[in-house]
Structures are given as structure tokens and as C-alpha cells.
Symmetry: C2
């Protein structure tokens, strides 16, 4: 049987693949109904409709070139919730074909709902929110 | 009526006062039964008994001089859970009377249980866990 950490790692990997492949319907399956997403510092959207639209906007902003992968990850489960601290790698390609990469230190809250671990708070900016 | 953010801010302030005054019985009221506490990077304890003992050890380690206060705080609630990103200030006084201060960028998960917001994951190291 998989540990909570293994399950959440797989869930995040699948979600990041869904972002990279712009499969937003599948991506929304990874969130709770009342999830919150930090679209950028100061801009928090909530609920699947708003989160989906934010990902559509982000995808367009990066000319459909965004590829998201995971670096090191710490999962700290506590009963039916878990804190995830994760290095997330963002790769984008601009109109001239130049590739650039960014690393962020993300913080997520996952919640076990009816046996499935879903993302309740998605803050890819981590503690960098305090810089704003 | 108080917002979730206001309620959680007051809860954290009361918990930090309880740490500073070594009122560990009161402090334990702020945690869920199956809470996890990052005592230091790599050392995670869980449940009120272990967390209480960790705070007793920390208090002794700092010669009962530890004073914890809050800096800037972001609370991101999503239904019955919330992510907290917070600057926490630690002040300790050594045996010779010298005072030193540290700032950390903490990450906490709070959970609403029967109308009360309780700490489920207490990670004062924030994303610095990725440095280890």
C-alpha cells in the first residue's frame, strides 16, 4: 500500500503533467471544490471555475509553452491534511524559441476527501509572498 | 463577526504567547490531536504528547529565554483548512545576558474542527526545509 507521501507525490506529478499538456478538465479533478489558488502574489482565486480560468490565462500568457516539473519535495501529513513543500520547475519558450527556466519553492495544502488527496491551497510562491 | 484570517491571527498570537510564557498545557489546546510539528529540519514529531515534550526541550535548550512574536502574515483559507505563511521572530538570551534575534518564514496548516481553528502542521522552517 502506498504511503500518503507517495500518493501525494503521484497526484502532484499528474497535476503538473495536466498543466503542461493543458488538460484543464483533468487538472480540476485534483482540487477540492473550495480550493484556493495563488495566481500571482496578491491575486488569489477560489473554486474550480476561477482556478480553471486562471490556468487558461497562464497558458496563453506563456504561448502554450509552459512545462512544469517537480524537484525535491517534503510532505508532512497530519491526519486528513498535509503540508507540501516543493521545488517546482517552470520552463517556458518565447516566440523566438528561447527557453527560460525558473525555480519556485511552492507550498500546498492537501486534504483527504473520501479517500482521495486533493489540493485545497495551491501557492507556488511559497514564503516569497512575504517579499511583496 | 471575525474573519477566518483575524481568528487565525489571534490564535497564533495566543499560541506564541503560550510558548514565551512556557504555558504548554494551554499551548497544546491550539493543536489537533494528530498534529505534526517540525522540531527541526529532519525531526518531525506528532501528537500532543510528543509536541509538548519538544517544546519543553526547546525551552530548556534556550535557558527559558525564548520569546516568539509574529511579523507579517498571509492566511489563505479554503473551506475548513487554511495555509498560513508568516514571519516569526525568535528572541533568545544566553547565559551572559546577550540577546540574539532570528527571523524565520514559517508555514502552518490550520484546520477548522467543530468551529475552532487548530494547528495541524507546524513548520516554522517554511521552504527552508529544501536547503537541508
Amino acid at each position: 500500500m502506498k504511503t500518503v507521501t507517495e500518493t501525494i507525490k503521484e497526484t502532484i506529478k499528474a497535476a503538473d503533467l495536466a498543466i503542461s499538456s493543458e488538460n484543464f478538465d483533468e487538472l480540476m479533478e485534483a482540487y477540492t471544490e473550495d480550493a484556493c489558488f495563488v495566481a500571482k502574489p496578491g491575486i488569489i482565486v477560489s473554486g474550480k471555475n476561477e482556478i480553471r480560468q486562471a490556468f487558461v490565462n497562464i497558458s496563453e500568457h506563456f504561448n502554450h509553452s509552459l512545462i512544469v516539473t517537480q524537484g525535491e519535495m517534503h510532505v508532512i501529513p497530519a491526519g486528513d491534511v498535509a503540508l507540501v513543500i516543493m521545488e517546482t520547475n517552470l520552463q517556458v519558450t518565447d516566440a523566438s524559441g528561447d527557453v527560460s527556466e525558473k525555480k519556485r519553492r511552492a507550498t500546498y495544502v492537501y486534504k483527504n476527501a473520501s479517500g482521495r488527496w486533493l489540493c485545497a491551497v495551491d501557492n507556488s510562491y511559497g514564503t516569497a509572498l512575504l517579499d511583496e
